[in-house]
């Protein structure tokens, strides 16, 4: 149950070339479920692999449990890792797979059976011990990979997009299992994903990465409600936040904040919203349209309206919509960074 820390961690594949990971400094809490979130190429996997010791950093240090491990091989770091493909040893049975780390770490033979049983019971795979990996389903393989990871009682878990190989349907239940697993073991876990729903649902804190840089570290609520820049603001939330240019500032409005005027409290900014496209999703409707008559007339914005909301929001209709001024986020147009101090000087 250790703390993972990186100090100015950098990785360049070619001297003088672009940085895959650029001066990343972060520190996890004990027992935390920390998510590295970002699109492909953001450096999240590289960052994870450096923490695991599978890649050498170009600069900076890694500490696990307050100990500098930057030059240590993976096997000396007391970590466990679950790969995207699970990397189960195909020629070994499930039992032998789980036992392998015990043999490699020279755990006394007498303890092997007990530990294997403990790990397999924890994940409910006791009945699969004599099977081969190829005979297992995707979900079962994930559980075997987790059992293999936990059997050594490591100080941290590293998970590299373990759900991306599963069917969409399976993903939700596998996600729930992982969350339960974390609660049971309490081990510090670092979880890499490009799926922001996974990140929000599972993470204690989320590290949002883009092009090798950390854009923000915060709880799901913080990164969603108080995004540090336009990237974080538009990456989290689906459909993404609409950004409107006002002078040298970008005003961000989340779809669920742009609603029929009657439903908006606080200090409403009013617009005439003409619907150009509707997506009926059952529980809600996504309305794509334009803010007629305002200076943003030719920009498409999105509104998310609950199915229960009254009104005919079909294509071509226009409505009185509004957004609570206090909820609008302001970003500097050139740097993309969030501005929190200025009040919105609004001229529609």
């Amino acid at each position: 149950m250790a703390i993972v820390e990186t100090r100015h961690l950098t990785k360049q594949y070619r001297r003088g070339g672009p940085s895959a990971v650029d001066d990343v400094s972060l520190r996890s809490a004990e027992g935390e479920f920390l998510v590295f979130l970002g699109p492909s190429g953001s450096g999240k996997s590289t960052l994870l692999r450096m923490i695991a010791g599978l890649e050498q950093p170009t600069g900076g240090d890694i500490l696990i449990g307050e100990q500098v491990v930057t030059d240590l091989a993976p096997r000396d770091r007391r970590i466990a890792m679950v790969f995207q493909s699970y990397a189960l040893y195909p020629h070994l049975s499930v039992r032998e797979n789980i036992q392998f780390p015990l043999k490699a770490q020279k755990v006394p033979r007498a303890d092997h059976a007990r530990k294997v049983r403990w790990a397999s019971d924890l994940l409910g795979i006791g009945h699969l011990l004599d099977r081969r990996p190829r005979e297992l389903s995707g979900g079962e393989r994930q559980r075997v990979a987790l059992a293999r990871a936990i059997v050594r009682e490591p100080s941290i878990f590293l998970l590299d997009e373990p759900l991306s190989n599963l069917d969409a349907k399976l993903r939700a239940s596998a996600r729930e299992e992982l969350a339960r697993f974390h609660k049971q073991t309490g081990t510090t876990t670092i979880y890499v994903t490009h799926d922001q729903i996974e990140a929000m649902a599972m993470g204690n804190r989320v590290v949002v990465l883009h092009q090798g840089l950390v854009r923000q570290i915060g709880t799901p609520r913080e990164v969603y409600d108080e995004p540090a820049d336009t990237f974080v603001a538009t990456f989290l939330g689906s459909p993404p936040m609409s950004l409107l240019a006002v002078g040298d500032v970008l005003a961000g409005i989340r779809p669920e904040q742009l609603l029929p005027a009657a439903m908006v409290q606080g200090t409403p900014l009013r617009f005439r919203f003409r619907v150009t496209n509707v997506e009926y999703l059952g529980s809600e409707r996504l309305l794509y349209g334009k803010l007629e008559g305002s200076r943003f007339g030719d920009q498409t914005v999105v509104s998310r309206v609950a199915a229960s909301a009254a009104g005919d929001f079909s294509e071509g209709t226009a409505h009185d919509f509004a957004v609570d001024e206090r909820l609008v986020k302001l970003f500097d147009k050139t740097s993309g960074k969030r501005i929190t101090s200025r009040p919105l000087a609004w001229t529609a």
């Binding site: 993976p74 096997r75 995207q84 040893y89 392998f100 490699a104 050594r152």
Partner: protein, 326 residues
């Protein structure tokens, strides 16, 4: 017949084909329909090759057995059946027994050396490094060059007087300059020489095949082993090599066939000498059948190659079938 190809390299396990369409009440309509035409086209396209194989491999293969049980010679006109007489006389001949033992010894010894060498070399070639293509070119030379030419090259290297190996050994004071080893003139050394040449020739082939096997192992597996705590040797022996077993089988089986049935190395290097001590089954068959004009006995000798071929074929089929399950 529908067109439904299994994936490339899929096993010979029969996929349940669709039942042929039952003749509809209209009957005639389907007999020359597009699917039937496709079948006929297929038959037409495959028959030349099948015919050729039957006529020039199948029939001679059968004839080998017929000759072995006859008294055919190069001069004879007809074929007289003599039963198992040839086999009996062959089995009693000391030259044959020696050749049989030699074939086995040469094959086993060279293949063991090749397997070990190819494993080591393929591991070294696995990851890219500068100049790898150049080294690979040089490494492949023994396999690519015609066997007879490689063998004659070795004959020169192992020459009784001018052997460059002997010169080197003498320079290192490992042998007496005036009484150097007669590589091709002493029975024991001649056997070693033959094994050496076979190993030299087959090593590149097996290496390249094993390399293909190595590169097919997903990168995450050795990484997982590393994270799990395994060092270099544990990963190698408990993870990498077991996963390479199917491909090692393939390399081994081909190696056995190519070595066991080869007569060129022995013929060029030693002509079976000194005094028939390095004779192998194929070369003995050649000397008996072609140079000795006794086709029947020559055929009988070469028939003894068949059991090995059958065993290898069966093992190959099983390897291919088993690996399908992964």
């Amino acid at each position: 017949m529908t067109v439904d190809a299994p994936a490339h390299g899929a096993a010979p396990t029969p996929a349940p084909g669709p039942a042929p369409a039952p003749a509809p009440l209209g009957g005639r309509r389907h007999r020359f329909g597009p699917e039937a035409r496709a079948t006929w086209l297929g038959v037409f396209m495959i028959s030349p090759a099948i015919l050729f194989i039957i006529l020039l491999i199948g029939v001679p293969f059968a004839m080998a057995f017929v000759y072995a049980m006859s008294d055919v010679s190069i001069a004879s006109t007809g074929i007289h059946f003599v039963g198992l007489q040839n086999f009996r006389s062959v089995l009693q001949s000391p030259a044959f027994r020696r050749a049989l033992v030699n074939s086995a010894v040469f094959t086993v010894a060279s293949q063991v050396l090749v397997l070990v060498g190819a494993t080591i070399l393929s591991l070294a070639l696995k990851d890219a490094f500068r100049g790898r293509g150049f080294f690979r070119f040089l490494i492949l030379l023994p396999w690519v060059a015609p066997i007879s030419l490689g063998s004659i090259g070795w004959k020169w290297i192992l020459d009784s007087i001018y052997s460059v190996i002997n010169w080197g050994l003498a320079a290192l004071h490992l042998v007496d300059k005036f009484d150097p080893p007669m590589w091709l003139g002493t029975p024991a050394l001649a056997m070693i020489s033959v094994i050496l040449v076979h190993t030299w020739r087959m090593l590149p082939f097996s290496t390249v095949i094993m390399l293909a096997g190595l590169t097919s192992i997903p990168k995450e597996i050795p990484e997982a082993a590393n994270v799990d705590g395994a060092g270099f040797f544990r990963t190698l022996f408990q993870i990498t090599m077991p996963m390479m077993r199917p491909i090692m089988n393939v390399a081994l089986l081909f190696g056995v066939i190519f070595t066991f049935t080869d007569m060129t190395v022995v013929y060029v290097l030693t002509r079976g000498g000194p005094y028939d001590t390095t004779q192998v089954l194929p070369s003995l068959a050649f000397f008996t059948g072609v140079l000795g004009s006794d086709l029947a006995e020559g055929a009988a000798i070469s028939i003894f190659l068949v059991p090995i071929l059958v065993v290898v074929a069966v093992l190959m089929l099983r390897t291919a079938a088993r690996s399908e399950v992964t």
